[in-house]
Assembly symmetry: C2
Homo-oligomer: 433 residues x 2
């Protein structure tokens, strides 16, 4: 007999099939038993009217792994429009211990810490399962969009010799008698790789030793990194980023309808080109409208970002807004300044519903400009020796950006905490599970 | 005018185009200059007969970044069958410092340490560039094959609370006042995720603090990990692995002809199913033919693997050979024993040209079997508490495997050292570039 996945049942009406998975739900109504079986992709309802089988089912604990043979029947009012009838059930792995929490209701009732303590099990909940399938979809959409533009995938070292990009917030470890550091980003390597492949991307973990316990920070996250050469300025980078965001959302739309429906996500409507506003103009606008929000001179406070998000939706009907030209003071040393006003930079943030989702920009590309920039930043050149070799050997104008995978998912699903968008988050208090 | 990539020139014969990239080579022959421009994908030859342009070209140092306008001309004897004629050249970024080594010959002459010291620059060599493009191809072929089989991609934590899988060879770091460890593999997480998605894969870095300086070891490598449920035994896993290896090679064949030709790779001929031999039978065979090779009772020494590789090629015409049933003594605690002979295991290695390329097998899946296995291994249960929660909550029979990306590339290209297959290797002596 044909073993199928639950999500394939609708194409098999009238045939006898086998489904295998976890016994998610079991409810008896007089002489009828209603089961829900969950597999790695979805669920299916099973209706049993045979007294002997019902008696057998009474013995099977929830979350036991079972194999069920039955006939697929169209049933418009059932979830997914089909049910399995006349089942016969075989237990593959019986559960005999109490389960840590309830995962067969529409929502998980547990508080966040409980959810995270039992993430190994709680992520089996259909909505958690769908959440992390969307996470896979974001990665796939990212890669597909960039592959179509001839980008090459790289894998860069995560162990580095010096805490270069920013001295603070870096994890240090012993490395055969000396110190190594966990990479805070693949920034230097992706730039170096522009000298080899011109257009590169990487999907991988980055590590930030930030000692903050906020709803927006975790200490390991997945960074979707892009860098490419032969650009005119940061607007060339924003154009690729716009195609990537659009490509990801189109990919989810095409391949994840079931998850989107289950999670009741409204994918943001895309208006191209995304609107953009210069940092100075954004500040002026806030000054005019909500002066009390501006708490920093050279950066945007979260409240300012939120206000700009609302403004972009009102003015442009767009969930996405580029803020360009951030002050050089607040940007890393490799940032390219604005040609006509070097206090500002050829950099940008992309806000998504009023939260910074992506940071990017044009980088310096000549060796001499790096020497100057390091001097201005009071940084020694020695730790940057191999990085600088790329610029000494000829590099084109280039730029790039980094999208935080968990942050994208958080904003897309409207989570109140980035930990909801992370399978097994790492934070200042949490190293397990 | 149309900017094209070098590899697109053959489709543009007769038209005027712009190519941009690095000035890789420049040779003057009387009144003619021959240039080679390299971009992120390949090279193109440019022929210049204009005296003024030739004089300009004399001023441009190798590896300078240039933009060249010219007409594509079919030229069967030229590499790729085309040349660019009547060029006009604009310098985008001039090189003014001496270059660290020569990368415009057919081969890099530098010794391995020099090559690695200057990897930032040396990886621009067309053969290095092609090598790491194949690396991207292996990842893409891996994902494509598994996506087609409904696997879901995951990203697991790289910072873990205890050095669980094997106590030794793990990097330790300070984590907000306590110790954390770098994950040696996503083994536990990929198994846990079988409880959520049934079929999962991950492409990501793993860390091994092995204090060895051999040609086969690096301390960070990229692991292509797979795990899935509802298997019969390790032969179910081998079947998926066979499809993955076949899928990767087919993907390279389809998308990387240029790189394969440049590197003069002979992709191994695939004979399906891959031959397999039980560990005990392999040992008996070696005992019969080359008894002096057997130096270990419970494992295969590298020389034995090489002999078996030759045997597989002679007997089966196959570059790939499964060795099954490795003794339990040498396999980790989560390994499933053979049903009829529990001294052996439901595990396997896949040898590729006589080198272990992949390790995999069936895992234990019941909670009670884990408790027994930990006791037998003299391991405490406490550090495994969250891992065990998955098995307490119902897990199907499952298994998986892990392919070392760099090792695959090493064997495919016949490198003498895995470092040649790593962009920026990390070893006991090397943390840069």
């Amino acid at each position: 007999m044909n073993k199928i996945r639950t999500v394939e049942a609708a194409e098999q009406v009238g045939t006898a099939v086998i489904v295998e998975g976890w016994l998610q739900h079991h409810r008896r109504h007089g002489n009828i038993s209603f089961l829900v079986l969950r597999d790695g992709w979805g669920t299916i309802q099973i209706v049993c009217e045979n007294a002997e089988t019902i008696a057998e089912l009474e013995e099977i604990a929830l979350e036991s792994v079972v194999s069920i043979e039955g006939t697929v029947v169209a049933m418009p009012q059932a979830p997914n429009g089909v049910e399995l009838h006349n089942p016969s059930v075989t237990v593959i792995t019986a559960v005999s211990h109490p389960l840590p929490l309830t995962i067969n209701k529409r929502e998980i009732k547990a508080a966040l810490p409980t959810l995270l303590d039992h993430a190994v099990y709680a992520n089996r909940h259909p909505k958690r399962q769908a959440t992390f399938r969307l996470s896979a979809g974001i990665m796939a959409g990212f890669r597909q969009t960039l592959n179509a533009q001839q980008f090459t995938e790289i894998q860069s070292p995560k162990l580095v010799a010096s805490a270069t990009e920013s001295g603070a917030n870096v994890f240090e470890l012993g490395y055969f008698g000396r110190s190594a550091y966990l990479a805070q980003s693949p920034q230097f390597y992706k730039q170096i790789m522009v000298g080899i492949f011109e257009r590169v991307y990487e999907v991988g973990p980055v590590f930030r030793a930030e000692p903050h316990n906020t709803s927006r920070h975790i200490n390991q996250y997945v960074s979707l990194d892009v860098e490419f050469g032969f650009i005119e300025n940061h607007f060339s980078v924003m154009k690729v980023l716009e195609s990537v965001v659009t490509g990801i959302l189109a990919y989810l739309e095409e391949h994840y309808q079931r998850e989107i429906a289950l999670l009741e996500v409204e994918l943001p409507e895309i208006k191209r080109p995304f609107p953009h506003i210069h940092f100075a103009e954004a500040k002026a606008l806030i000054q005019q409208n909500q002066p009390e929000l501006a708490t920093e001179e050279y950066d945007l406070a979260p409240a300012e970002e939120r206000w700009l998000g609302e403004w972009a939706m009102e003015q442009h009907g767009s969930a996405f807004l580029f803020v360009t030209g951030y002050p050089m003071k607040k940007r890393p040393f490799y940032t390219h300044p604005e040609n006509n006003n070097p206090a500002y930079s050829n950099s940008f943030d992309l806000l998504f519903n009023g939260l910074e989702l992506v940071t990017g920009g044009q980088r310096l590309h000549t060796y001499s400009s790096y020497l100057e920039a390091l001097e201005q930043a009071n940084l020694p050149t020695e730790p940057f020796e191999t990085y600088l070799e790329a610029f000494k050997s000829g590099m084109p104008p280039h730029g790039g950006f980094a999208i935080g995978l968990e942050r994208f998912l958080t904003q897309l699903l409207g989570f109140s905490n980035v930990r909801y968008a992370t399978l097994f988050p790492r934070d200042i208090n949490r190293l397990t599970p």
